[in-house]
Amino acid sequence: MSTSQFHRLGSPDRSRVRITIDGHAHECLVGDTLLTAMLTAVRHLRISECDGKPRAGFCLMGVCQDCWVTLAGGQRLRACTTEVKQGMAIDTTAKFDHGI
């Protein structure tokens, strides 16, 4: 079984961006959304506060709000509409209450 959800098509010639997901280092590419950056490395974005199950977004167009992730500093971002930045540290295990 593959360890990432998304699969890049073609061989992109873009500079790398480094992020960490739950403390593990990953490399992604300039031009990635945070969602793409994460799902080309792992298979989920967060744990749902409702059923405790992993979620990985759904609509990819900023509508369903299923892809809000938490950075290590507590900041919350909608992963599908946020551009990935060097050094982002994401905590997929963070508890997510109803505020943003």
């Binding site: 699969h7 873009r14 199950k53 992993p54 759904f58 609509c59 167009m61």
Partner: protein, 462 residues
């Protein structure tokens, strides 16, 4: 008059064409766009660092996409374009907008809503698993991120996009396990006469199907979704084929959807009237014949008003702008409006045939198992919605929301609305149209609390 402040919300096909007509008449509108670049979802642009050419991204639609983007470029000096800009509230004639973390209120004299659409879905067991995405989402991954949503993808649902996206994926080298269409082949054949009126659009559709066939990609009709299998992520899909046999496919991603539904939250906050269209089984904005909503000085166009597709969106965008010019007494717009409506009528014949060839499977709502999550924000199951009806007496969708929290989450029922309506209609044995729509609340999308207060109270730590 010409000093009126005119705002267009959305820069997809409808918004861009509306802007073009206004600019030609000497008006300089403000365009508020949630996306970073114009194009909407259908002609969405890739980040500039991805340098794929138009034909790779848009296929047969490449010339249309290029024309729309070029038109917009040519307008840039004459419009106040604000990208990455969320309109999160509309009160009377004040728009509350959020851009780069800053909130601002602008007052408008006239407004054209071109807010677009999202996928319409009906849940099946396992649809919240990582690996299940909307059809539109699968296309965005491809178009704007050069990714496939998985290594082995199943495309499921009922939408003209179904064969098209499957084709785009396969052509780009992604593995397409199967395309599962919930509409029966007989219904497609019955829709043929109307489909023929689509001319090239219809022929392109046939081309995608033929391409999939010659590349040995399984295309099944009349299927019923069963369950996305897997514990932590998608490992397979169970479904029932046209003959009623249980089938299983191994896959790590599922893209699904049943056509589109309009993004109408701002129109709702403005107090515009809606109507239920029984053919598409969708709520639409009630418009006069020229794109005026029921609220004075508010116009609407494109899929955000009625789902008619991208070509019609360009026409209805132009139509709304002409209606607005007429209302400003800037000369008679009758000829232009007559011509646009003629073209739109012609497209309507094709559109209603498409609605039959890719029918909305409303019967599936009744069959959603009690244990299946319907509202993915709040984790509300179909069983909980049914008990809200049976035990608590919910007889419209907003009562059900109050009783069991369905539609109360961060997406405000955009995803679960159609399913909730369908489930309740089946339980109550009533027409879906009688159950109402989820009411919109501001902010229409989550915004950071710090932005809602234009000046946050100093003693509150955010």
């Amino acid at each position: 008059m010409a000093s009126e402040r005119i705002v267009i919300i959305g820069a997809g096909p409808a918004g861009v064409r509306a802007a073009q007509i206004l600019v030609a008449a000497g008006i300089h509108p403000i365009i508020l766009d949630e996306a970073p670049m114009c194009g909407g979802q259908i002609y969405r642009q890739q980040p500039p660092v991805l340098q794929r050419d138009y034909s790779e991204l848009y296929g047969f639609e490449a010339p249309k996409a290029k024309r729309l983007h070029d038109t917009f470029e040519s307008l840039r000096g004459s419009v106040d374009y604000r990208s990455d800009c969320l309109v999160w509230n509309l009160e009377q004639k004040n728009l509350h907008i959020l851009h780069a973390g800053n909130s601002e209120t602008i007052s408008v004299d006239r407004l054209i809503l071109a807010t677009g659409a999202m996928d319409r879905i009906l849940p099946f067991t396992g649809w919240t698993l990582p690996g299940v995405f909307t059809l539109g989402g699968a296309q965005i991954a491809f178009k704007s991120q050069a990714c496939a949503i998985g290594r082995r993808t199943v495309f499921l649902g009922s939408s003209p996009l179904l064969p098209y996206i499957a084709y785009q994926y396969a052509k780009a080298g992604a593995e397409v396990v199967a395309v599962l269409d919930t509409t029966a082949r007989a219904a497609k054949i019955r829709a043929l006469p109307g489909l023929l009126s689509g001319g090239m659009t219809f022929i392109k559709g046939l081309y995608f199907m033929a391409w999939l066939r010659t590349h040995n990609i399984k295309y099944e009709y009349g299927v019923t979704p069963g369950e996305a299998l897997g514990d932590q992520n998608v490992e397979g899909l169970r479904y029932t084929d046209q003959r009623g046999n249980q089938q299983m496919l191994e896959c790590d991603a599922i893209a699904f959807g049943y056509g589109l539904r309009s993004e109408m939250q701002l129109a709702d906050l403005a107090g515009c009237d809606f109507r239920f269209d029984p053919v598409s089984c969708n709520w639409c904005l009630a418009l006069d014949g020229h794109g005026r909503t029921s609220v004075r000085d508010i116009y609407a166009a494109g899929d955000g008003a009625t789902i008619l597709g991208a070509d019609a969106a360009e026409l209805s965008g132009a139509r709304a702008a002409h209606a607005l010019l007429g209302d400003l007494n800037l000369g008679s717009q009758d000829t232009a409006l007559g011509r646009l409506n003629q073209e739109l009528d012609r497209m309507n014949i094709f559109r209603s045939a498409l609605e039959r060839a890719f029918a909305y499977p409303h019967h599936l709502a009744k069959a959603i198992p009690d244990s299946c999550i319907v509202c993915r924000c709040e984790g509300v199951t179909a069983g909980e919605i049914r008990s809200a009806v049976h035990e608590l007496g919910a007889d419209d969708i907003n009562r059900a929301k109050a009783f069991c929290r369905v539609g109360m989450g961060r997406c405000q029922g955009r995803v679960c609305g159609p399913a909730t309506e369908g489930i309740m209609a089946a339980v109550l044995n009533r027409d879906q149209a009688t159950l109402g729509r989820f009411r919109t609340q501001a902010p229409v999308k989550p915004v950071p609390m710090a932005c809602v207060w234009e000046k946050p109270p100093e003693d509150i730590v955010l």
